[in-house]
């Protein structure tokens, strides 16, 4: 929840105070933060005791348990968005 509040503060800053010409700097800072977050995820994985053993023992199972639900989510969401959401933008484009 606190993350959402911080983002809302950012929205207000962007709407009322943030100069448009600094947009590029904002994008660069976002990239830096993202890279640092992914790096910290890697450290968390690598520093787990018996990481290699865990990966070889539970790795295949974990891979299946992330890959299949991710792919089935995509398989279900894509047609739903084509039916319920894409039409809206298509109609709007036709209207324009």
């Amino acid at each position: 929840m606190d993350v959402i509040i911080v983002m809302c503060l950012g929205v207000l800053a962007g709407k009322f105070f943030f100069p448009e010409k600094w947009k590029r700097i904002n994008e660069i800072l976002q990239t830096v933060c993202t890279v640092l977050l992914i790096f910290s995820m890697g450290v968390m994985l690598g520093s787990r005791e018996n990481f290699i053993g865990e990966i070889s023992e539970l790795g295949m199972r974990s891979v299946l348990f992330f890959l299949i639900p991710s792919v089935t989510s995509v398989i279900i969401v894509y047609p739903l968005t084509r039916i319920f959401l894409d039409k809206k933008s298509q109609k709007k484009r036709e209207g324009e």
Binding site: V6, G14, Q30, F66, T72, T81
Partner: protein
């Protein structure tokens, strides 16, 4: 960006394995992870704020805004059932693991409490891998399918850590939908884990 992300992940794993996680810069990054996320969310908020008229666009969706979280929840649970059938893990555990939708810290602990340490480890690793996978799949999905579908692999993480990839590879409107989806999925995760474990 994808190469940068891959290099950051590999570098992080190597640092962790080499025992550098307690040295100065690495420790500062891992311990300051929450603050980095706050800064990132503020910056993402600025990007949305700079985009005029976005709230009006979102209002046009009405109840159809629930299509994406509903699809993600259904897809994740279906994936949990299929994964359970392949690996032989009991259905209640397999669906509970998949119900995490990328929220690895909560799912690892919750499934560990309910089903034991091994299932907890699978829940932690698989949900962490889902978050990492969504970073790398967003550019591909935005190009080959559509912007909305980029939210699907991100699941519950679409409101925070995967947002920068959304803003880079989709648009501000999709970012707002992504946040909405993340809130709904995150709220559903604790309930779904408990429901799946007890009723499947």
């Amino acid at each position: 960006m994808v190469y940068l992300a891959a290099a950051a992940l590999a570098g992080g794993i190597l640092c962790g394995m080499a025992g550098l996680d307690e040295t100065f810069p690495v420790r500062a990054i891992t311990y300051g992870r929450d603050y980095i996320l706050y800064v990132l969310m503020f910056l993402v908020g600025i990007s949305i704020g700079l985009h005029r008229g976005i709230i009006g666009k979102i209002k046009e969706y009405h109840v159809r805004i629930f299509v994406i979280p509903a699809g993600i929840i259904a897809g994740s649970l279906a994936g949990g059932i299929i994964s359970g059938l392949i690996t032989g893990l009991p259905m209640n555990q397999s669906t509970a693991v998949a119900a995490g939708m990328g929220w690895y810290s909560l799912t690892g602990a919750a499934v560990g409490n309910l089903a034991g340490a091994q299932a907890g480890s699978v829940a932690f690793l698989s949900n962490l891998l889902r978050e990492i996978f969504s970073f790398f799949s967003i550019p591909f999905i935005s190009k080959k399918l559509n912007y909305y579908t980029c939210i699907a692999p991100a699941g519950a993480t679409s409101e925070d850590t995967t947002l920068p990839m959304m803003i880079r590879y989709t648009d501000e409107e999709n970012v707002v939908l992504s946040v909405f989806n993340g809130v709904i999925c995150s709220a559903a995760v604790p309930f779904l884990i408990s429901f799946c474990y007890n009723f499947f």
